[in-house]
Amino acid sequence: MSTVRVLVGTRKGAFILTSDGKRKDWQVSGPLFTGWEIYHLKGSPADPNRLYASQSSGWFGQQIQRSEDGGANWAPVGNRFTYEGVPGTHQWYDGTAHPWEFKRVWHLEPSLGDPDLVYAGVEDAALFKSSDGGATWEELAGLRGHDTGPQWQPGAGGMCLHTIILDPSNAERMYIAISAAGAFRTDNGGKSWKPINKGLVSNFIPNPTAEVGHCVHHVAMHRERPGVLFMQKHWDVMRSDDAGESWQEVSGNLPTDFGFVIDVHAHEPETLYVVPIKSDSEHFPPEGKLRVYRSRTGGNEWEALTKGLPQKDCYVNVLRDAMAVDSLDACGVYFGTTGGQVYASADAGDNWTPIVRDLPAVLSVEVQTLT
């Protein structure tokens, strides 16, 4: 019998939810790291009991925690994130030059094959790599050193590198995304990077089709279709069929194309999920109805999924790293809200139920399918 483990990062600690493959009865353990912000937890695909967690605090800075036993026990590892060389400047909110300053780790992405290799996406935007299980970190400085670096600017949540996607078919290729710079791709293991934002249109920058400056909220990829990317931008849902060389809008009939999360069904590479949010000024679901939208056509045609989700007086948000899928059949879909609920569907989105409902505001959700 399979086990599903849901790793939940919140504003005040981490929680681990477990169930068997039926996904009906859930055990909640936690809080872990009480009182600290847990932006992200993720397990190693190569060793699912090896977990990494980003623990941070405005008072006490950054910690990386590691578990070897699926989250029962944890130990702090390395927390020294130092930019390589002279950090230089990026754009501040008012357009002036502002020095790069490390603030926190937003996202941890363990290697697909090596439990000791893990990447960290940080604010102010940069990519770090550890080859020793998180004990030491080195910056992959070719990204921040890109010619456009001085033009990057923070989004409302800070200038964060929040998305890291590893290409399972090509160990040298990875994708990252930064708010508000855009998406980038490396084809040489992180030495050099290329902005991949052609086709994005962002009306909050002087040149809406500029090479960089786009507030990409999240990017998702199906592991069997590594050249196909799906993006939830500040506004607009986009897709690329050429590894990010060009993007086309696939917002279609969504009630609003603003949002944060986007994910892909585990077994159907053209089935997507988003949670439309009213606007950048009103970060809650339109009409107070929490609806996941699913497209079975790779975008453009979307259906509202509402069964089990609150359909009145609901004003929570779903943040960018707070949706994930399991790999069971039928595919399970999970998302967490700023109101502290984690909703799950064991039937690819047709029916939803809260598997925990009163946590601190949820920052991230990851799922492990254990056999």
């Binding site: 009480t34 009182g35 605090s57 008072w59 006490f60 950054q62 702090p76 927390n79």
Partner: protein
């Protein structure tokens, strides 16, 4: 050159106690003169997970939302090489590391 060894009491804020898995008060053995820098060096040597949580890894500057109090005085803006009050050096009074009251 350090003088006689002293036992200095340090009171940590709650979140650093849970991180280091210690009680409210810890003791460190340091040579004279007893300064904030020497206390922190010793504290971080004994509890490596505290590196970067009280002062910056590189600049060694105090993190902005932390303060150092002792003997009813705010020592946060003194140089970290200034001798701490005798009562701290003798262990009569603790050095308090305080998280600023800033919500959350």
């Amino acid at each position: 050159m350090s003088g006689a060894m002293r036992t200095v009491r340090v009171i940590l804020p709650y979140h650093l106690r849970t991180l280091a898995q210690v009680g409210a008060e810890v003791e460190v053995e340091i040579g004279e003169p007893v300064t904030v820098r020497r206390v922190l060096d010793s504290l971080e040597g004994r509890y490596p997970m505290l590196r970067g949580t009280i002062r910056d890894h590189v600049t060694q500057e105090r993190r902005p939302f932390l303060r150092f109090f002792a003997c009813e005085q705010d020592l946060s803006h003194d140089t970290t090489d200034a001798p701490l009050p005798d009562a701290v050096a003798t262990g009569e009074e603790p050095l308090l590391i305080i998280g600023a009251i800033a919500g959350g």
